[in-house]
Symmetry: C2
Subunit: 281 residues, 2 copies
């Protein structure tokens, strides 16, 4: 329902119209305080409003409440699907694209992937240098090299789990930066328990399965694993919270930043523990 200046003054649903008496004025049937969106409202925001109020359609107005159009629930379902695909791509370091896979040229597919791979490769340079710093430890006990992928891998997996829970929590609006201390408390507890379990499992695994290692070597790997999981869990939880606090998108930024931080801190913990337990100077 519009006034003579095409400004929105209310909405009438088909259902209300049918229920109305034949001689009722539209004025008496319409809902006056209609929920509206602006033409520059983010589509994800529009989706949230439509969902919250279970509406079939939303009027789009300009600053003067002049009606510009409507968005209907079927447009919104498409938006939700699109945003979903975009989020999943971002988490896997693939740039989003409107073109489908089969339609995309080999060059287009390459362009969506290679920038992220280069960023991640350059970030991994730091990890290489951390290991290089422990060259003498590795020379004294080359066995330590065998467990590098387990340390970085488990660290990465624990960190990704925490980060995913945070990113979803932030996306759905359940978590906010204000909850940071509660979250840190929870993540430290969860990390501690998982770390102890995986640490014990790693020692057992190193003693039982090949390659053959000494008890002290197994203990070094297990102890390191325990600390790595605790640190990775915390980093994984804090990175998205801090990034979103800075007004950046945690889905894009969390990956490379987190992977590097976790690899660097994980390997430092690993080699320091090994130095201590294996008495390498």
């Amino acid at each position: 329902v519009l006034d003579p200046l095409k400004r929105l003054i209310g909405v009438v649903s088909l259902r209300d119209l049918m229920a109305a008496e034949d001689d009722d004025l539209v004025q008496n049937v319409m809902v006056k305080e209609a929920i509206t969106v602006f033409q520059d409202t983010d589509q994800e925001e529009v989706a949230k409003i439509l969902e919250t109020y279970d509406l079939l359609a939303l009027p789009v107005v300009d600053q003067n409440r002049r009606l510009l159009g409507i968005v209907t629930f079927d447009d919104i379902i498409d938006v939700i699907r699109e945003e979903q695909t975009e989020d999943i791509y971002k988490m896997s370091a693939v740039s989003a694209s409107r073109a489908t896979y089969l339609e995309s040229s080999v060059f287009a597919l390459m362009g969506r992937r290679i920038p992220w791979l280069i960023i991640l490769l350059l970030a991994a340079t730091i990890t290489t240098n951390v290991i290089a710093g422990y060259r003498h430890v590795l020379e004294a006990a080359v066995v330590l090299a065998f467990f590098i992928p387990i340390v970085t891998g488990t660290g990465g997996n624990s960190g990704t789990q925490s980060a995913t829970l945070m990113i979803r929590g932030l996306a759905t609006g359940e978590l906010r930066f204000q909850d940071v201390w509660r979250i840190v408390g929870k993540e430290v507890m969860v990390g501690l328990m998982i770390g102890v379990c995986l640490g014990i499992l790693t020692v057992l695994r190193a003693m039982v399965l090949p390659p053959e290692v000494t008890f002290n070597e197994a203990l070094a790997v297990g102890t390191a694993m325990c600390f790595v999981v605790i640190v990775a869990t915390l980093v994984g939880a804090l990175a998205p919270l801090i990034i979103s606090r800075l007004g950046l998108d945690p889905t894009v930024m969390a990956g490379p930043l987190m992977a590097t931080l976790i690899d660097v801190s994980g390997l430092t913990i690993y080699f320091e523990t090994a130095k201590l337990l294996l008495k390498v100077m």
Copy 2:
């Protein structure tokens, strides 16, 4: 519209009802071939049908077409959100849960994460043994250990990118197993191009940035990187296709399987290339 046995014989929209003449029979206004779903239809499937036909609601019937209820678009929006969260969790190896993060106890959060971490940890045992098999190569050139995280990391990232494109393609119905040869062709091309670029970048990076390495060592890392990316891209693309062909869920299975396959093949390529170029027997 039901017959005397409560079987669905048609549907009438509010819009058609309003447009109808006052003396029309429902029979003449209704849509006879109504799209229906069964009570055991998967909710994701129901969402797809509602989306495809842009319907407001879908009747749910039993085997005899007796009406059991209706599903409306606002239920479906909730379903799409839920499935989205579930998919993202699965890809990050977190079990899904109806409880929100802040509501969940520390033990509940631990239970959602630790099973996956243990599976991934045990799978990584194979990787440890692959490296252990090249102990003499590592002893001859400890420098090779510095680049282990770069090799497994870049392999993992390329593989995840391919796998994500496949998993989304399969989920939206764009890709099917029949397209496997077209996909393999594309992925080999994309992998080759990305592999060559990253290989050259790795050699340059190894020559320019610390730690100091010989040209042959840099060449070994760069060459290996090139092959690792090609193999990882192919494994990443094929794993979800094969898993879904076997009737399993690629979102859950692709992660651990792929990570292990890529680490194992990547490190084997890496050490074999190094053996050849560094002339270690």
